[in-house]
């Protein structure tokens, strides 16, 4: 009985008791949701364009951030380091396309998935090889302080990240909506072979998409990196982006954002109001369970394309 009270009633009483704190939790959740979305966005791009579940996205975030901060540390100005890193990511995309994807056209999804994990390993080793495993500080002038609105605290860096993510999503959504390439990407994701027979050049398509994903990874890497330093654990955030991804739907750019917001708020609220009942750290799995329950009702996620079941 006590247990039930603690689970079903007490948290709500607490919410009612201090609505401003609740508001803060929700805002905090929205903000971390945005940060997840930034990573999830990269996944979506690549999945949408080729049906590849790119597990290396997390490592790409790390790799981009490593290069960027490495170049900064080497004395380059931001205005030089940034385009240079973008160039590196494009080069990376080119290598991936050349050496991996083009050789695995028309293979099962799971094979491509594995290949991206291989890419992840490689990049991780390569990144550490280039820039060592040290933690790097990344300071590109993103404000790190907080604003206080009465009781409610909002981190400036979060707001900054949200704005950047918003811009990114709008641009990408427009890109997919209004270019010929957008449609071609979906075709490629459906059927590699058929896409080739209608003359879609898989090579350049993939180059473009992976480059854009690399760019998104760089942005995510800068956001995350200036928060927690550039270090190995950046690559692990990808795990947190996964529930966001499936909740929003693998193929939807706006889904990545909405999914991120839902997951962010959900897990923060759960952790803060229910976590203590279970000894804390329920955040670790809450997002997955939330996503799982959600998928039970919508197996393709919120905005995912309907899964076609026909005989």
């Amino acid at each position: 009985m006590d247990m039930l009270y603690n689970i079903l009633i007490a948290p709500f009483l607490e919410i009612a008791k201090s609505p401003s704190f609740f508001a803060e939790v929700v805002i905090g959740g929205l903000m971390s949701g945005v940060m997840y979305s930034l990573v999830a966005l990269g996944f979506v791009l690549i999945f949408k364009a080729s049906g590849v579940f790119n597990f290396a996205q997390g490592v790409m975030v790390l790799f981009a951030a490593l290069n960027f901060s490495g170049l900064l540390d080497a004395g380059l100005s931001i205005w030089l380091a940034f385009p240079l890193t973008v160039l590196i990511m494009v080069l990376l995309a080119w290598c991936i396309e050349r050496l991996v994807l083009s050789k695995l056209v028309n293979q099962q999804d799971i094979i491509l998935f594995m290949a991206t994990i291989g890419i992840g390993y490689f990049l991780q080793g390569f990144g550490e090889f280039l820039w060592t495993g040290n933690v790097r500080k990344l300071d590109v002038g993103i404000p790190q302080d907080a604003w206080f609105f009465g009781d409610i605290m909002i981190q400036q860096s979060d707001v900054f990240a949200a704005v950047v993510a918003g811009i990114l999503v709008i641009v990408l959504a427009l890109f997919f909506q209004y270019t010929r390439i957008g449609r071609a990407l979906r075709a490629v994701a459906d059927d590699h072979q058929a896409a080739m027979t209608v003359g879609i050049p898989l090579r350049s398509i993939w180059l473009i998409v992976w480059s854009v994903a690399g760019f998104v990874a760089l942005v995510a890497g800068i956001m995350w990196g200036s928060r927690v330093g550039v270090q190995f654990s950046l690559s692990v955030i990808a795990l947190k982006a996964l529930p966001v991804l499936i909740l929003g739907g693998f193929t939807s750019v706006p889904g990545a954002i909405i999914g991120g917001l839902i997951i962010g708020v959900g897990e923060k609220v759960a952790e803060i109001y229910w976590g203590p009942l279970f000894g804390g750290a329920i955040e670790e799995w809450f997002a997955y369970i939330l996503a799982m329950l959600f998928l039970f009702f919508r197996p393709q996620g919120l905005f995912g394309e309907r899964i076609i079941e026909r005989v």
């Binding site: 201090s18 704190f21 803060e24 939790v25 905090g28 959740g29 903000m31 971390s32 080793g125 550490e128 060592t132 495993g133 040290n134 933690v135 500080k137 790190q144 302080d145 907080a146 605290m153 981190q155 860096s157 995350w224 928060r227 927690v228 330093g229 270090q231 190995f232 654990s233 950046l234 692990v236 955030i237 795990l239 947190k240 897990e267 923060k268 952790e271 803060i272 976590g275 203590p276 000894g279 804390g280 750290a281 955040e283 670790e284």
Partner: protein, 409 residues
């Protein structure tokens, strides 16, 4: 022959930043001994490295791979690996020196003859930190009614002090809230700090490692938590933890088992015999907290071997002989002076029954935005409450494993 010593290192993976500094210190000290003294009493040290990536199974494999040729003494700098090789090493008669980490109850040398965890264990450290806080507050009685936040890595390592916090909370009348940080999302602590912002604890205590530390310190700074009321243990107080936050982390404190910086005579030798001959393992980290820890770790190992040689002769020592050396280790202040480490490391004396050493406790250091500074005096642990529990836990272990504790008298 040479004195072979295995090193289970990690310079890659999630904890690379920490490992790079600490193993550089360990190795540079061995080089120093070789270059300056021609080895330990003439026996050169030959070490071999095996990369574990802080992964337990890789650590076990490294142990097995190195133990036949190099198996003299292990310092894995990982609580997980330590746990996994305790039984193996005991079986193989090779000592494990888990300096300030690993299994706390191994301090009972009767049950764990091969495991050493001086100069201090997690439990001792926890009591000393509470004692420091009490001092800060102005007396043990001031602890009553206070509320603390305990932020820890959700890992065997992070959980070690919890039983002691419980005991002390009862004893001194304070309360504390637990905030586990999962190993898979060490950099995502928003909800923790939101809660801390609300509960406004009097002090925050942290048992962190790897990427968790800088994140926590940054988050604390950004919610304007008073940094001088935020105290980490000695695995949460090195340069890699605070550098990312820089000035924001100013005021943050942590426990320490040894001094910081390069201001010790031993560094003159290091410069002369190691750095200037371009043999430094990682010069950038010299003088860092973790680098110094590596130095101290190796110094103890070397002294133990020296002790053993007194009994067994100046030749390469076996694991069993080193064990004897460890158990009879007595690093006095005078000896420390000879080593050029006065102020860097406190004296310690180990005995058969007490593998934690006779002098458990902590220093406290504080970050001023650019450097760590020692503040205040050595704070002894509350051994009176720690030791009984150590013995109780060890006895429980002995019973489970069917071990008859040896007699130390």
């Amino acid at each position: 022959g040479t004195q072979n010593i295995p090193l289970l290192v990690y310079r890659t993976g999630p904890y690379a930043a920490n490992g790079i500094a600490i193993f550089a210190g360990m190795i540079d000290y061995f080089k120093l001994v070789n270059n300056r003294d021609g080895g330990i009493n003439g026996v050169k040290i030959k070490y071999t490295e095996c990369e574990t990536g802080y992964k337990t199974d890789r650590g076990v494999e490294c142990y097995d791979r190195t133990k036949d040729e190099y198996g003299s003494i292990y310092s894995p700098v990982s609580t997980g690996i330590t746990y996994a090789i305790i039984d193996k090493a005991t079986h193989d008669k090779i000592p494990v020196f888990s300096m300030g980490y690993g299994r706390t109850s191994a301090a009972d040398g009767r049950v764990f003859p091969y495991i050493f965890n001086f100069p201090s264990t997690y439990w001792s450290q926890a009591t000393a930190i509470i004692r420091y806080i009490a001092k800060d507050l102005g007396g043990m009685d001031k602890l009553k009614g206070k509320n603390f936040a305990f932020i820890y890595l959700d890992h065997p390592y992070g959980k070690e002090p919890i039983p002691f916090l419980d005991i002390m909370a009862k004893k001194f009348g304070f309360t504390y809230d637990k905030y586990p940080v999962p190993t898979t999302s060490m950099t995502e602590q928003k909800s923790i700090w939101l809660q801390i912002r609300r509960t406004k604890p009097d002090y925050a205590i942290m048992w962190g490692w790897g990427a968790m530390n800088p994140t926590a310190i940054k988050e604390a700074a950004s919610i304007h938590f008073p940094m001088d009321h935020f105290i980490g243990n000695w695995w949460s107080g090195s340069e890699v933890d605070v550098k990312a936050a820089g000035m924001l982390a100013k005021g943050y404190k942590s426990a320490a088992m040894h001094g910081t910086g390069k201001n010790y005579p031993v560094y003159t030798d290091l410069k002369k015999y190691v750095y200037d001959t371009k043999q430094a393992d990682n010069l950038a980290s010299a003088g860092d907290v973790l680098y110094n820890r590596g130095l101290v770790n190796s110094a103890y190992v070397v002294e133990a071997i020296r002790t053993a040689m007194k009994k067994f002769g100046n030749k390469p020592m076996t694991g069993e002989q080193i064990r004897w050396g460890m158990e009879n280790l007595d690093v006095t202040a005078a000896r420390i002076k000879e080593l050029g480490m006065t102020g860097l490391t406190p004296p310690v004396k180990v005995s058969c029954a007490n593998h934690e050493g006779n002098n458990p406790g902590i220093f406290v250091q504080q970050w001023d935005g650019t450097k760590w500074h020692m503040i205040g005096d050595f704070i002894p642990a509350m051994s009176d409450i720690v030791r009984p529990i150590v013995e109780q836990e060890a006895a429980k272990y002995a019973k489970e494993k069917g071990i008859t504790p040896r007699s130390c008298s």
